[in-house]
Symmetry: C2
Subunit: 207 residues, 2 copies
Amino acid sequence: MNKGKINKKTAKAVETKKKIYESADQLFKKHGFDNVSVDSIVEKAGVSKGSFYVYFDTKNDLITTLIADTVYKVDLDYKSYLESFPPGTMASDILFSFVEKMADTIACAIGYDLMKMLYEAQITRTVNTEAVMGYNRKLYQVFSNIISQGIEQGDFRVDMSVDTITKHCIMAMRGLTYEWCIRYPDFDLKEQSLIHYEVLLNGIKKQ
Amino acid sequence: MNKGKINKKTAKAVETKKKIYESADQLFKKHGFDNVSVDSIVEKAGVSKGSFYVYFDTKNDLITTLIADTVYKVDLDYKSYLESFPPGTMASDILFSFVEKMADTIACAIGYDLMKMLYEAQITRTVNTEAVMGYNRKLYQVFSNIISQGIEQGDFRVDMSVDTITKHCIMAMRGLTYEWCIRYPDFDLKEQSLIHYEVLLNGIKKQ
DNA sequence: ATTATATATTGACTATAGTCAATGACTATA
DNA sequence: TATAGTCATTGACTATAGTCAATATATAAT
């Protein structure tokens, strides 16, 4: 049989996966991740439990798919945000605005529940979170551009590679986000991120 | 009835909890956290499942108790390590040694499995992890001492409070540890920690 | 000693994630 | 059209975390 062909059978399979995905999305938004069982998802979708596990390895897999989709959109948004700065803007200024933008996105646009699920999934490794933590994620490119610019402008130190600085900057944001999650709601992500990056930037700048 | 009185009844209760704790500890060390069920713990301990849930809120609670005990010992070790430096040692030198010490402790003495469980427990909040993340943890005091020393020596900036610098330094270590967990074994905790703190320290020092 | 009270213990029960052999539906081939 | 092969689908099943009303046992009060 031909592979990847679109026919009644494959179309139905795609439809089934879509039904599960969308039912889950609706239920999650309505009741929160912790209050939605796989049974309730498949019931709403009108399919069997077995089907669920054909299309998703685990419940977390489905959630992480939802997150990866969100992350993809977020990164596109980040990219266009970065491109909106006029050429010649100081990299350090861009970095601060960008950190603020990220903190807003994480805390408001994505929200605590989703971030918590993601950070849990990353640590338990019940599912592949390459789309979020992989070094090929668009975010690394976006950050890398800012750092390169800072070096070109003669503002940032040159004894560390762009790649290294980028990875450590993103790791710091991840650390801030983790701290935000474990201390929620007693941790102001934006405020603390700005303080933290002020120190970090200070350490990245030429003395 | 008197409260907190030691008698046959309370002694037996203490004994039961201890049996559960020790059976779990042995099984975890032998098979790893993920391969030990509550049923197997209570079977080994020779008590009922109901008893388990009298003494521990959840399975994670038991694990976190194990971790908190480890953390307590670790912090004592940190404290004595710090005190072993001769007076007058530069705070920045102490900080580097200390970061190296922490990385070693986390990666070797505690190990990936335990750290992973802890970081998962912190994020899921299925259990109280105050002993590890609370600002009254001894580690904060230990770090705080280093920072104070750096300020007194005129080496560290004075436009940030000791408390703020301390919290951000520990958050950075937590961020590094989280990154280590999610990228394990492809992330050298000690190496990356030293790079990261070099930048951070640079940002904390007076210009 | 008897009774009342407090509390330690139990194990059957529920809830829910995840499995898998069997079945059904569609497609390609002759 | 008949048949074989492929793949989507099913739902009963297992595994395991966590619950709770009932019971057993020790202690306090009379």
